[in-house]
């Protein structure tokens, strides 16, 4: 429900080249977006594969997104498909690895050097649904989503476990489980299903159960 605050667009350079503490950051911008980026280091012991993932993630981001969320996206992508995350708690650039920690620091220093921090107007970039997805006719989008949900259920041997009750204008999918579906399994099933749909579409599709209403103004005792 929240939207972007009215921002005065900052004047951006077309290229950023930054070096410091053994790290380099080279970014080419195309308009507001990063056309390509290279976060690198000559120092030994850092994870080149992770830096490759990071550089791929930064492409297409705004500088602000790159600064605030770029390394987070790389950490998430780097763990995709792995059974367990590298930490038992909350994974962040600060704890994913020494490489993610140092890369985040370098990237922030590079971007802060050309783009003043603006706490009021920043942070409203959103990677929800892409333009390409939105441009598809709603019937096509619905058909794709229903097909993917059906595919997932079939693969899990739960063909008729869920009924799609609505897909709204924001592509939020509302579902209902069959009455005898185990209560405790519902949250896990929904989260897995959402991951499957997101992974297949590349879009941040959200899955919900149908809303439960309480029509009593004074809630029953």
């Amino acid at each position: 429900m929240t939207g972007a605050a009215a921002a005065v667009p900052p004047k951006l350079p077309s290229r950023i080249d930054w070096t410091g503490e053994g790290w380099s950051v080279n970014i080419n911008l195309s308009g507001d977006l990063i056309a390509d980026a290279k976060v690198s280091t000559d120092e030994a012991g850092f994870d080149g594969v992770f830096l490759g993932t990071l550089n791929a993630c930064l492409k297409g981001m705004t500088l602000r997104q790159a600064r605030d969320h770029g390394v987070q996206h790389a950490c998430l992508n780097a763990t995709a498909g792995k059974k367990a995350p590298p930490v038992s708690g909350i994974m962040m650039p600060a704890n994913y690895s020494p490489t993610s920690r140092a890369a985040a620091k370098a990237l922030r220093a590079a971007i802060d050097g050309v783009l003043p921090i603006d706490l009021v107007n920043w942070n409203f970039d959103d990677n929800g649904l892409s333009e390409a997805w939105r441009k598809l006719p709603i019937e096509t989008r619905r058909a794709k989503l229903e097909a993917l949900i059906g595919e997932f259920l079939k693969q899990s041997g739960q063909n008729d476990a869920v009924i799609v009750t609505d897909i709204d204008v924001h592509d939020r999918v509302f579902m209902q489980f069959k009455p005898d579906f185990p209560l405790d399994d519902k949250p896990i099933m929904l989260m897995k299903l959402e991951r499957y749909v997101r992974s297949a579409t590349g879009e941040r599709i959200e899955l919900f159960m149908s809303e439960m209403k309480d029509n009593n103004r004074i809630r029953r005792l």
Binding site: I90, M92, V120, W122, K213, I218
Partner: protein, 374 residues
Amino acid sequence: MTGMTDHTELILDGTKIAWHQDRIKAWERGERVAPITIDMALTRACNYACHYCYAMLQENDRKSITKQVITDFLDDCKEIGVKGISFVSDGESTISPAFVDACTHGAKLGLSMACGTNGFVLTRRKLEEVLPSLTYLRINISAGERDRYSEIMGVKPDYFDRVSQNIRDMVAIKRERKLDVTIGLQMVLMPQYRDQIMPLARLGKELRPDYLVIKHCSDNEDGDLGVEYDKYNELYETLHEAEALSDDTYKVVVKWSKIAATGQRSYQRCYGAPFMIQLSGSGLVAPCGMLFNERYKKFHIGNICETRFKDIYNSDRYWEVMRYLASPDFNAQKMCGSLCLQHKVNEVLDGYEKGLVTFPDLSHSPQPAHINFV
């Protein structure tokens, strides 16, 4: 911006998370950290029908929190390192038969206990029992006049008289027994209740609780309660006038940081949930009250009526949900309602993660009141 140092004594418009830096460091290292504060209710039921009630949007499968369930829960909280439990959340906890026992048992364990209530059933006898166990007792009262109280809070006008008397009694008991408990009033302000700001501030001055806090009304992401955030700025003058009624022992505090935010969030990740989770009066464990409704089933972690809380906390499922909220899979600006309980903590932790906030060394600073309610 962070609200960390807005007040040094009683922080009502800000967060005390900076006084828990050991837990923040553990979180930053990727360790599993126990919540500092848990906000919960002992029941989903309520004897009021407030017009602004967010709990109407939070319906989920109901189960009953018995005395045994809450006793086990509090024991588990103590064991894993929770520090404060507030009975606010999505039901009127004072009408639960387990209420008094829950407060006294939690306090005996050394947990800080608190309660937000409409105050209707808290008559003198019950207050005598429960007040010594509480860190704070906050009465939800969104009008200062009998008839408007009846309209806004959905009850008969004479409920106003009874609640006013109960407030007088709790203030008297606190004074007579020299209790540490903080007694507060809270107005949930919708722009259309502007006529009640001054009557309530004056009523507070007469009844003499420690404070009156005036806060915004939260709404869900679809705006179902119809809160008009752009109209709050028309109330600023009246709100300042109400604040001016403060004196040495009665504070009128406006939650400016949230009211002025006009429903917007500066952050996308929800880092606050592991530090401050919420339980529904149905026993449901969820990261946040805004995710209680059955529609948010994918965020539902477990139920204390069926599983011990320490097992829920230690489960992979608990941490899977917490990780989801802290990851780029989630955007609180787009996927949440407005101005949640964790909002101020989220602001600070998000700034800290981005290297924009540093925590001051508070080891030699006096601790604020209610430190375990972040």
